[in-house]
């Protein structure tokens, strides 16, 4: 071990620029530029712009309160009875109150029907609709949409909870910007202190959602609104026929709205807290489902945005190109990088691996501390997560990358998302048949 450390230190001091670039080209060219330099630059611009345009935000807020449109909050789910009560209570605490709550029970086989009916009778929710037969999340959301009366539709997950001003904050962008079709909320991890797995996900969410979506939103390439917290213009959802069959329906609806020419915004102050998988096994299952949607929806269903046609828009093109490049192509490229290291720098492989961890850890710590300055709402002090940042190299660089690769391969070769039990087979088989 002492020898290994001596060799590592010697290597660091003698590596030189050329050699450093040769060994860490993947980090420098792709990840460093995109996730550190561009992100930092955009965040600074966003902060400065926000400061100079703060009056517009105030005006937008006033406009919202002046109009006070009716909002329809749709909560589809199966066996979510135990969460609905807490959710309804948290919604009662909202600063913005002109909303109706529609809960759709998608064929629950527990006490959800009784709980839902009681909450309806007690006035905690406005409408409780039960489907005796499970139809899938899309159909449940569409049913809620069918009976929604609001000008804006907010889609929530039953197992989430919301800041007091979350509803108000997610609506403000509709009044702040022109041509907004939908607004995504800021999803944070509620159970971050439950296990190593949840802590790592909390760091990941902070980077990829709380920060990453600010950047994507500012660049105009935001391509997903979390099902846990998203607001939509009702007229647009009516035009689109609402949600299509999942999994991955939240990304799909966002792309459909973009294709109509509307902008998608992220509201970092509209904070929602959710519980994430607390074991790596559960996390793997969740991510396999999520990651397949890149192939299913981006590469297959909505591939038309990549090619010139009457609906072609550069913003959509860049959004897709960035997504496919960084998640699909570079994912494959990473394996090339690994092969390159294994075969061309074989003798130094252990040293390079160690240095890799050091570089990523240092950059992660710097990034986390710097970017935390742009996060107005944190679920825990920055120092709480710093000890876990070295593990992010393994978690993000290896674990999630391998899971993602597996998901892509399953979807590319077997269209596995259509067999996912998350959606009932009666509708998945049609989605597969119709290639949707």
């Amino acid at each position: 071990m002492q020898d290994y450390l001596d060799n590592l230190i010697t290597y660091i001091f003698n590596i030189g620029t050329d050699r450093f670039v040769r060994v860490f080209w993947f980090f420098i060219i792709f990840e460093g530029v995109r996730y550190y330099i561009i992100d930092m630059f955009v965040l600074l611009c966003w902060k400065i712009k926000g400061y100079f345009q703060r009056d517009k935000f105030v005006v937008a807020k006033k406009s919202l309160w002046k109009e006070q449109p009716l909002i329809s909050i749709i909560i589809p789910g199966k066996n979510e009875g135990e969460h609905i009560y807490k959710l309804a209570i948290s919604l009662k605490e909202q600063t913005y109150q002109n909303f109706e709550i529609i809960v759709i029970d998608d064929g629950s086989d527990d006490l959800t029907p009784i709980i839902g009916a009681n909450l309806k009778n007690l006035g905690y929710i406005n409408m409780f609709i039960r489907n005796e037969v499970r139809g899938g999340k899309a159909s449940a959301a569409n049913l809620g949409m069918r009976y929604a009366k609001g000008k804006y539709i907010i889609h929530l997950d039953a197992d989430c909870s919301y800041d007091r001003d979350a509803i108000e904050n997610i609506l403000i962008p509709f009044y702040r910007y022109e041509n907004i079709g939908a607004v995504g909320g800021n999803v944070q991890v509620r159970n971050y202190d439950k296990s190593i797995c949840t802590r790592l996900q909390a760091i990941e969410y902070a980077n990829s959602i709380s920060i990453g979506r600010i950047v994507n939103s500012e660049l105009g390439i935001l391509r997903i609104i979390s099902g846990a917290f998203g607001a939509f213009r009702r007229d647009i959802l009516d035009r689109l026929g609402s949600w299509d069959i999942g999994p991955g329906l939240d990304g799909d609806i966002t792309v459909k709205i973009r294709k109509l020419g509307y902008r998608i915004k992220f509201a970092p102050d509209a904070v929602c807290q959710t519980s994430v998988p607390d074991t790596f096994t559960k996390l793997k299952k969740q991510r396999l489902r999520w990651d397949k949607s890149l192939i299913r929806f981006r590469v297959r269903k909505h591939k038309d945005v990549m090619f010139p046609n009457k609906n072609f828009r550069f913003s959509n093109f860049f959004s897709f190109a960035e997504n496919i490049t960084y998640n699909l192509i570079l994912n494959a490229k990473w394996y090339v990088y690994i092969m390159d290291i294994i075969f061309n720098i074989t003798s130094m492989i252990q040293i390079v691996f160690g240095l890799n961890i050091i570089i990523y850890t240092i950059s992660n710590i710097l990034k986390y501390i710097l970017f935390s300055m742009f996060r107005s709402r944190k679920n825990a002090p920055i120092t709480y997560f710093i000890p876990y940042l070295p593990l992010m190299v393994i978690y993000y660089g290896y674990f999630l990358r391998i899971v993602r690769t597996r998901a892509y391969l399953q979807e590319i070769f077997f269209r596995a998302s259509y067999d996912d039990s998350w959606n009932p087979q009666k509708s998945s088989k049609y989605a597969k048949l119709l290639r949707i």
Partner: protein, 478 residues
């Protein structure tokens, strides 16, 4: 309901022809629907033969005499002739046989004599509670007829759909809903024993049993709603009511989202649920409320607020038959009124006073009783709860008028017993007069000028009899 009202309207104008059949020293008064008729005209006749060809008149007549408070009328033997084929089954126990021709008279004579004999056994005890007074009249009737069972029959003439012979007639239309409570009371007293027949639900306002059950909108409570299947189209995940899919021009189901034709249930679409649409307030909902609208008073209420009642068939117990003869005695369970000694304690204390009189040769004790004879009529109007409060308030006033050492209590028949210690007859009578005046004024002022009939009596207590005998004696005086 309508029929009942009709009887009331026609009664004062009825004209009857009457005639008398004399048979072996018995006078049978024939009643026909022809002449102006008063119930007092029946006095002196041994039995009645009623022309029952007119259904409404027959019903009215039978109910009128059976509901009369005087035994002379309500126990009078009654026969019918020319019965209307639709004469209600619930009246069958309310008359004593049919008269078709003179050849029936010997048998009728026997029935009349049997009733007479049993009627003479009955003691006319006045000092009784409301419940006891009503039940005693029912028991009297059944005892004199030798009937051991009190059957209920389904009837649209009853507010709650069932009729108990005699009981419903006595209580009349307004009070008949209390009949079930009275029977329950009688069962608790051990006078009758019941066997479950049916469970019914009554209006919580008027105790009516004629209820219209309707599914109503949970928002506006209107029953004007449509029900539709929810249809889920699998390929595009659209889900909505059937009307969303219906094509007005072609007899087809088309998906409003993807325009595809729905072909095969279970294959490309299904119906996971139903939804209701209120045509009044336009609300959409799945859980209809079930409301019951009372046909009698019009109150529309949720079914969980209806009053559940058991309808039973009753058998008269030995204690019930004895009650018919000698009156209903206070039950073992004592009436408990706050700040008032229980009646059994009162009796012990009184017994103690009697010993003192005997041992110390003191002046004789006086036992006074006060009974409000027609208070049960007030109870019918104001309900049991308010009645109990009234009794409590009256007793509080009485206690305030007496010394703390005086004995005062009330038995289950709501007869007030007072022993004013160290007082002669004059002083006692003065106090009783004050109490009587107070009761009269209080009830008159507070209950829409209700004139209460108060009986007051006082007896000397010597040392010869036991306490129960004194109480019995006093009740007879009342």
């Amino acid at each position: 309901m309508e029929k009942n009202r009709l009887f009331k309207k026609i009664t004062p104008l009825l004209k009857i022809d009457s005639a008398v059949i004399e048979f072996e020293k018995l006078n049978f008064k024939k009643i026909n629907v022809n002449k102006v008729w008063h119930i007092e005209q029946l006095i002196g006749y041994d039995a009645i033969i009623l022309d029952a060809s007119n259904l409404e008149f027959a019903r009215y007549f039978i109910n009128t005499i059976r509901s009369h408070h005087n035994t002379e009328y309500y126990l009078k033997p009654l026969f019918i002739y020319k019965p209307h084929p639709l004469l209600d089954i619930d009246l069958h126990n309310m008359y004593d046989g049919e008269y078709t021709s003179e050849k029936d008279l010997p048998e009728m004579k026997q029935i009349v004599w049997d009733i007479f004999l049993k009627t003479t056994e009955i003691e006319d005890v006045l000092s009784l509670s409301y419940e006891a007074q009503i039940i005693k009249r029912v028991l009297n009737y059944f005892y004199t007829r030798g009937i051991n069972e009190i059957y209920c029959t389904k009837s649209t003439f009853s507010n709650y759909g069932y009729v108990y012979p005699m009981l419903n007639a006595i209580l009349k239309e307004d009070g008949e809903s209390k009949g079930l409570d009275l029977l329950e009371w009688a069962e608790q007293e051990g006078l009758i024993t019941g066997k479950f027949h049916e469970r019914i639900y009554l209006c919580n306002k008027c105790s009516g049993g004629f209820l219209s059950f309707r599914e109503v909108c949970p928002s506006c409570h209107s029953s004007d709603s449509n029900t539709e299947d929810l249809v889920h189209h699998f390929p595009c995940a659209y889900i909505g009511p059937m009307s969303d899919f219906e094509d007005q021009y072609e007899n087809e189901l088309n998906c409003p989202k993807c325009n595809k034709n729905l072909r095969h249930i279970g294959v490309d679409y299904d119906k996971p649920s139903v939804i209701h649409h209120c045509n009044q307030c336009k609300a959409d909902f799945q859980d209809l409320l079930v409301h019951a609208k009372c046909i009698c008073c019009g109150v529309d209420t949720e079914v969980q607020f209806l009053i559940p009642k058991k309808v039973k068939k009753y058998e008269i117990m030995k204690k019930g038959k004895l009650a018919a003869i000698s009156g209903i005695l206070a039950s073992e369970s004592q009436k408990i009124i706050p700040n008032m000694i229980r009646f059994d304690t009162f009796k012990i204390m009184l017994q103690h006073e009697i010993y003192k009189v005997k041992y110390y040769k003191e002046s004789a004790l006086l036992l006074s009783g006060i009974h409000l004879n027609n208070l049960y009529e007030l109870q019918q109007k104001i309900g049991r709860h308010a009645y109990d409060r009234l009794i409590h308030d009256l007793l509080t006033e009485v206690k305030n008028m007496l010394k703390s050492i005086d004995l005062v209590s009330i038995d289950n028949d709501d007869t007030l017993f007072i022993t004013v210690l160290d007082a002669d007859i004059q002083e006692t009578n003065d106090i009783l007069l004050k109490i009587k005046t107070l009761f009269t004024v209080l009830i008159y002022d507070n209950f829409k000028k209700f004139e209460v009939d108060i009986k007051v009596a006082t007896i000397d207590i010597t040392t010869d009899n036991n306490i129960e005998d004194y109480i019995k004696l006093l009740k007879k005086e009342l």
